[in-house]
């Protein structure tokens, strides 16, 4: 094994935070690919440049994704990373594992790959970092025979992910782990055989705390919410009162100012609550969400490329999320159908909605306009009217003439 002199990245082994360089060296002790990755990285630090080429098309038979081809421009100098492909292993919902399963994953990876991983990648997959083209089929056979499948890449449904949900959270408004598993199973074909215009991400969060950041990085964000009154345990409120200033920390920080506390009783005007979770998150023993539970569906978030970042837009203010999740699955298919019909290549769904207009999208998926979908109405009076719109206004006016009562 070649021994690289790495004075620059060695400096990243000092300090209290666990060092990725140490991890790379650890793997590099027995693994040539990992060892060359160490030398390769030192070279990047020396020249202040990366040396990875654009990914080529590599993969396993019958799949169009799940493996990211990666080659070095300086493979001659570092043959262990001449090929250094990424394998995305579809993580279990909520990132729960047994040691037995993890050891099995590690053993296979040591056999065929660099011994380096990302636990986990940005999308959620367990990322196996660095292997060669001719090992891919063996890797896939080994993993899939033991119950592990590849995640997704390219213009496909990307590996869905979710928050810990009912596994360990009192605020989850639906079974995020269950939904995530069900959607992943339902859409295996859309994940593994890229036929979309571009990537599509689904992330499921159990409440507005949004621990998987779905509102910012999912084409479809499924965020738990509720209807009905927040459940209050007034005795626990009193316990909190002994250790916190409820008026300063809760009442005055309520964005809708729908709460009051007189030292005896906490009152909530639930009709004006926007369910932001602040009071519940800070008084978790005293307050619980309302009893009618479901999710808000938002569409379209993405990072800045191409024309700027987007946050997801509220489309369906409330939907029940219950097994077998038929309603959500049907909605997803309708969304994809409209996207497929309207997108140019490499257009995310948010970008297409911007181009074609929200109305076209909502009508296609059968969702009516609702003020919950907007922060505020349009400013400029430039708007489309269909013939049907005008006909319905005229019909309403005719009706009003009869009844003598206006409907605005």
């Amino acid at each position: 094994m070649k021994k690289y002199n790495t004075p620059l990245i060695d400096q990243l082994e000092k300090g209290p935070w666990p060092s990725f360089v140490t991890e790379m060296k650890k793997a590099g002790k027995t693994n040539e690919m990992a060892n060359d990755a160490v030398g390769h990285l030192e070279k990047c630090y020396t020249t202040k440049m990366g040396y990875w080429k654009h990914g080529g098309i590599v993969g396993v038979l019958g799949y169009g994704g799940g493996v990211i081809g990666r080659y070095s421009e300086i493979g001659d100098e570092f043959p262990g990373v001449a090929h250094f492909h990424t394998v995305r292993l579809n993580q279990p919902s909520g990132f729960f594992y047994t040691s037995k399963a993890l050891r099995e994953i590690c053993d296979i990876w040591d056999k065929y790959g660099s011994g380096l991983t990302n636990v986990h990648g940005s999308t959620g997959d367990l990322v196996l970092l660095g292997t060669k083209t001719d090992a891919l089929e063996a890797i896939f056979a080994e993993y899939s025979s033991r119950g592990w499948d590849l995640g997704s890449s390219g213009s496909a449904l990307r590996t869905p992910s979710c928050c810990v949900g009912p596994g360990r959270c009192e605020w989850t408004m639906y079974d995020t782990l269950g939904l995530n598993y069900a959607l992943t199973q339902e859409f295996q074909d859309e994940m593994h055989r890229p036929t979309f215009s571009y990537k599509f991400k689904i992330k499921s969060s159990g409440c507005a705390c949004d621990c998987v950041a779905s509102i910012a990085r999912a084409d479809m964000s499924i965020i738990g919410t509720w209807k009905g009154d927040i459940q209050i345990d007034q005795n626990e409120v009193k316990n909190y009162a002994s250790k916190m200033n409820i008026n300063a920390e809760i009442i005055n920080m309520c964005p809708t100012q729908c709460m009051s506390y007189d030292g005896k009783e906490l009152k909530i005007n639930n009709a004006e609550c926007s369910r932001c979770m602040h009071c519940i998150a800070k008084m978790t023993k005293a307050l619980k969400p309302g009893k009618e539970r479901g999710a808000t569906i938002c569409i379209g978030s993405k990072a800045p490329i191409v024309v700027g970042s987007l946050l997801s837009w509220v489309i369906v203010p409330f939907i029940k999320i219950e097994e077998p999740y038929t309603e959500v699955k049907e909605l997803i298919r309708k969304i994809w159908d409209w996207w497929d019909e309207n997108a140019k290549p490499r257009e995310r769904i948010g970008e297409v909605i911007e181009m074609k207009g929200m109305r076209s999208f909502l009508e296609a998926i059968g969702v009516p306009p609702m003020p919950q979908q907007i922060k505020e109405p349009r400013k400029d009076p430039f708007m489309f009217y269909t013939e049907d719109d005008i006909a319905s206004y005229k019909a309403k006016e005719a009706e009003e003439k009869k009844t003598g009562k206006y409907k605005f």
Binding site: A208, I215, I223, T225, K227, P255, T256, A271, E272, C273, S274, R275, C276, A295, T296, C298, S301, G308, L310, L311, S312, W313, V314, P317, F318, E354, G357, M358, R359, L362, P369, M370, P371, Q372, Q373, I374, K375, E376, P377, R378, K379, D380, P381, F382, M383, F384, Y385, D389, I390, Y393, K394, E397, E400, Y406, K407, F408
Partner: protein
Amino acid sequence: MALPQRKTDIGPPHFEQFLPPVIKKNYGKWKYHEVLSHNTMVHVAESGDKLWTVRVASPRILSTDTIREHCDIAEKYCGGYLRYTTRNNAEFLVSDEKQLEPLKKDLASRGFKMGGIGYGITNVVHTQGWVHCHSAATDASGLVKAMMDELFEYFESKSLPNKVRLAVACCVNMCGAVHCSDIAVVAVHTKVPTVKHDLFKNMCELPTVIGSCPTRAISPDPANKSVKINPDKCMYCGNCFTVCPPISIKDPERDGVAIVVGGKINSLRSNPKFSKLVIPYISNEPPRWPKVVAAIKHIVEVYAANARKHERMGEWIERIGWERFFSLTGIDFTFQSIDDFTFMRDTMRTASTFKW
């Protein structure tokens, strides 16, 4: 009689010659003012001098006869001085308190309407409409008259949580600050314009017409030496008609008005705001537009019943949320209220936090 010698570029007369003596004396040295009633306020100078103002409604379109009657009154009570306001009211100024009641009595006896000061509804900013504008899709003066007759109590005596500034625009060109009003009526077209191809090439410039379209709906039509308009992109703004007369957009049965709410100009408490679209279409119903008037009155009444003192319409709505505005007023929420023009990114909701 020979004409007098013309002079160019002299500009307006210097305002100083039109200032009453009390103003000249106390110019820039006012200390405070008090609103005494819906029609009267007093300004007090550091010198102790006082200036009473009585505000009088005006239809903005004035005959010279009426202006002369203003002059008669000003001469009788105000030393011949008077002024008008940005919102087109007349103001009579007296520095002698003894003149105040006689002035008001005289105004009342002549049928002049006093009011518009403080937390109510003052005169309506508006455009020319059918009276004098080529691009009008409705009449503005008629709408104003119909609205103010109905809302007159808020001008004369009845108070609201804060001012409610009304405006009427007879097309989306919106002369005046219509787009930042508490409630504004704006006339809209609803059909794609037609083009008289035979007249186009002599009367219109192709690049100007294409450039006039905010949604890029207009493209050249080489066969007709004219332009064609893509109906999927046209939002009927009429700007192409403004730059090219052979393009026609008027349609009596389809033209109508929309209602926008929640705008403001001043920076008190919150920043200036645009008005937002809440009712996309009401048929044009001259001479008194009963549904438009009823809609505005309804919105004012819901605001009056729900807003906190000092809250302008837009501040109240932003506090309670637009979804609550729609539920409190019972106004139908339509696709037209969803911005698909320049502000979509900033107006769609990007959180699961809203009210049912």
